[in-house]
């Protein structure tokens, strides 16, 4: 029987292909060990596990429009995607996923991450680097009296309106019962007004102390918020010296018992930005502590040399995300392509992370985190253990039921079931599908459902036997008549799975994939494989009169 030979050959070929697809192979994994990248070789079954099974972190990022509207969101997101991908690639996780979903979201999946907060920081940091010359023309000192005046005027307005505010607050007290946000707004206006009133004359200049060089001011740590609130007043903003901007330092400075936060007046136009940066690496120096050393490309180097040449003797603030890093160094002579950012008293890891985000480039739009899922590795292992246990028990039950009820034919069905599990796993491995916890549940579930096709066929064969047909005819007829019902049920399930795949996310997608792969494999196993088993049996024992079914 050549037909039978082909059938057996096809099954054997598929088994071999599946075994090959599932054979544990050596994969090279990039892992981060003691802060350095290393390549590890691991032997494992090439089945991708989802985050919920191996532990890790899932992030959904969106463009943050709370501060400023972004005109072309999709384009901005495309550019952000590249930056985030570069950063993640360097972050040192094996098999990370960074992809755009829809038009307004980036999905980041980091398997096996153990420090979620650090990962979030690396992904979200804008890393916009600017070099700005500090002001030496005492521009702020010149306008300070006016700023004080503005603040006093506002304070005066508030003072005269104190009764008014109080009245407002009382009025506000009634809606307070219904809305908490209203009450907090009322409170904040109240505290603002008291601060302003208490500050009195020279409100701002009183809080600012001259620093060690022009353009540097010291603000006591406890006054920082007050100064910030003054500077946020629109009139004050308008009265600031033109072409200059104010930048806070990222660090505090302690002088005696008090700690101060420096405030710098710098040229609004940066002499150079981070876009020319080609490399950045952390270093530990004995004098300056932790630093990030950077290199600029040729064009950047030329511009940098030019500009610094013009500003010899000036101080240069290194501004990252609107914060001045370290204390601005004095420019001794024209600087070329190399420079360094001092990190103050921060540790090497933050220097590493800064170097990483600088290398990857800056995010032009701020991103906010719309969704975080973080699953511990132990939970994943636990899930795998429980899922495997459930799977084993379910298969045990199904084998018991099938063999107990259908005897010899049941054994054939169990053989087909074993192949079914093998094929399904192989399909998942072959297509690089991700096995998730719901997927594992789907696998257990389809084991129960997969035998349905066999049950349909066997019941049909029994009916045909009851009508007095021969074993061979009954088997043929059984398969033939059960076929349409099997196709119908399989197709509806596959269609449902496809819809689920389209609209599901992460873990549920995994479930849909298992469902589709499982039904396809089950269709083949129940119909083709079982039939082949029967054919082999019929071939070996000619003239059979009875069938154990």
């Amino acid at each position: 029987m050549s037909n039978l030979k082909y059938r057996v050959a096809l099954i054997l070929a598929l088994v071999a292909a599946s075994a090959w697809a599932l054979f544990p192979r050596t994969v090279v994994e990039r892992v981060k060990r003691d802060g350095a990248f290393a390549y590890d070789t691991v032997r494992r079954v090439p089945l991708k596990r989802g985050l919920d099974l191996q532990g890790g972190m899932h992030l959904a990022l969106e463009v943050d429009e709370s501060k400023q509207a972004v005109a072309d969101k999709s384009d901005a997101l495309d550019r952000a995607l590249k930056v985030v991908r570069t950063r993640i690639d360097e972050f040192g996780v094996s098999e990370p996923v960074v992809q755009k979903v829809g038009t307004d979201r980036i999905i980041v999946e980091l398997p096996g991450i153990d420090d979620p907060e650090r990962a979030e920081a690396v992904v979200q940091k804008s890393a916009f680097l600017q070099f700005q010359i500090t002001d030496k023309s005492q521009a702020l000192d010149k306008v300070l009296p006016r700023l004080d005046q503005i603040i006093r005027d506002r304070g005066g307005v508030v003072t005269t309106a104190t009764g008014d505010t109080a009245a407002r607050r009382q009025v506000g007290a009634i809606p307070n019962l219904f809305s908490t946000s209203d009450s907090s707004a009322g409170d904040s206006t109240k505290s603002d007004s008291t601060v302003v009133v208490g500050a009195g004359g020279g409100a701002l200049s009183k809080l600012l102390q001259g620093g060690q060089f022009p353009g540097e001011y010291m603000v006591a740590e406890q006054d920082v918020r007050t100064v910030e609130s003054y500077l946020a007043i629109p009139e004050v903003q308008g009265a600031l010296p033109p072409g200059k901007v104010l930048r806070w330092s990222g660090d505090t400075l302690s002088m005696g018992a008090q700690s101060f936060r420096p405030l710098y007046v710098v040229d609004a136009r940066p002499i150079i930005t981070g876009e020319y940066l080609t490399n950045a690496k952390p270093n530990n120096t004995p004098i300056e502590g932790t630093v990030v050393e950077f290199e600029l490309n040729n064009e950047g180097g030329r511009r940098f040399r030019n500009e610094t040449g013009k500003h010899v003797g000036d101080y240069m603030a290194i501004v990252l995300d609107d914060r001045v890093m370290g204390r601005p160094p004095v420019i001794q002579s024209a600087i070329g392509t190399r420079g360094q950012i001092t990190m103050g008293n921060r540790d090497l890891q933050s220097a590493q992370d800064l170097a990483l985000v600088l290398r990857a480039g800056s995010l032009l739009v701020p991103l906010k985190i719309a969704e975080v899922r973080n699953i511990g590795a132990s939970l994943g292992e636990d899930s795998i253990a429980k899922g495997t246990l459930a799977m084993t028990i379910a298969i045990g039950f199904v084998i018991a039921i099938m063999v107990g009820y259908y005897r010899f034919s049941g054994v054939l069905a169990v053989g087909a079931l074993v192949l079914y599990v093998l094929f399904t796993m192989a399909i998942l491995a072959g297509f690089g599908a991700v096995l998730t916890l719901p997927g594992l549940a789907g696998l257990v579930l389809t084991v129960g459902i997969a035998v349905d096709a066999n049950v349909l066929i066997f019941e049909r064969i029994r009916e045909e036997l009851d009508r007095g047909k021969t074993v061979r005819t009954s088997i043929d007829e059984g398969f033939k008549h059960a076929w349409s019902a099997i196709v119908d049920t399989s197709l509806t399930t596959i269609l449902g799975g496809a819809v689920l795949y389209q609209y599901g996310t992460g873990p549920v997608k995994g479930f849909a994939v298992v469902l589709i792969a499982g039904i396809t494999a089950s269709l083949f196993c129940a119909v083709f494989v079982t039939k082949t088993f029967y054919l082999i049996w019929l071939n070996r024992s000619k003239n059979v009169q009875t069938l154990s079914i």
């Binding site: 975080v372 005897r407 789907g442 019941e459």
Partner: protein, 342 residues
Amino acid sequence: MIRIFHNTSFDFIKWWRQAAIATAAFILLGLASYLWSGGVNYSIEFTGGTLMQLEFTQPPNPAELRSIVDGIAPGAEIQEYGTSREYTIRARSATDADATSTTEGVAKAVATALDAKYTSEGYRVVRTEAVGPKVGSELRRGAMIAMFLVALVTLAYLAFRFEWRFGAAAVLSTAHDVLVTFAFIKLFEIEVSLVVVGAILTLLGYSGNDTIIIFDRVRENLRKVRKEPLYDTLNRSINETLPRSILTHTTTLAATTTLLIFAGEVLRPFAWVMTFGVFVATFSSIYVAGPLLLYIERRFPRSVTDKGQASPARVKADSKVEPRGDRPARPAGGTPRRPATR
């Protein structure tokens, strides 16, 4: 050869009234509970908010935990999760549009507070989920669309494979399954997560399968036995497929109950819905789809009916008679060229 429910002749359809009353009562109960105590217990994924799963080295005092969490996120739900050492904390986000930062902030604030109380060695955060309200509402919409699409796709497929009367009966019975499952989810306070939506969709497919198997047999029997009322054909088809139904449901039930018992807390809602679903599928394919088909046949009898036939309830499904009445005899076992159903 072991045989169960072999050659039975139960009159299943006779009980359709009782079945209809039972299922309607269940659905109404669910609806009443829905109106009484508000919506379904949606998971964090759908509402937006924060979920933390904690594992303590020593079983903590629940009241103590409560007071710590209440200080940060008032109204958060605290539940024991499997063992007395594991707890979940769910803080649903307020309705304000941009709660993302605060959503995530809750997890950190709770962790800080717990550090102070139990020290960082005393517990472990095994899982955190923080979902912004926008993502949640999108997921909810996606789930709705998915369910609607599955129903639509099933209808289209059944209409293509069977005749529209069969398709309509199958889809209506599928709609019934959804309602019953919703009632079950509401009455047993099962948390509706994405995985549960997946279970509902799988259930739709599974229950649809059962209906298809029976209808397929009805179709076949209609071709074979031409003088039988549809009522009897339905009953006969259900009885003939009974051993298959029992066996398939047993194996599926074995799978879902093992999931329920052994697969852990995360999959439990899924396993509950699937286990319930096996019973719903059995019930609806026999007591809902069958009577619905009968009803539809009665309301919309086949176009060319024999005038001499009796009550429309007893419409012979294949009583079309050629105008000349001299139809050639069909070869046995062959596919009829013009069957009752497409």
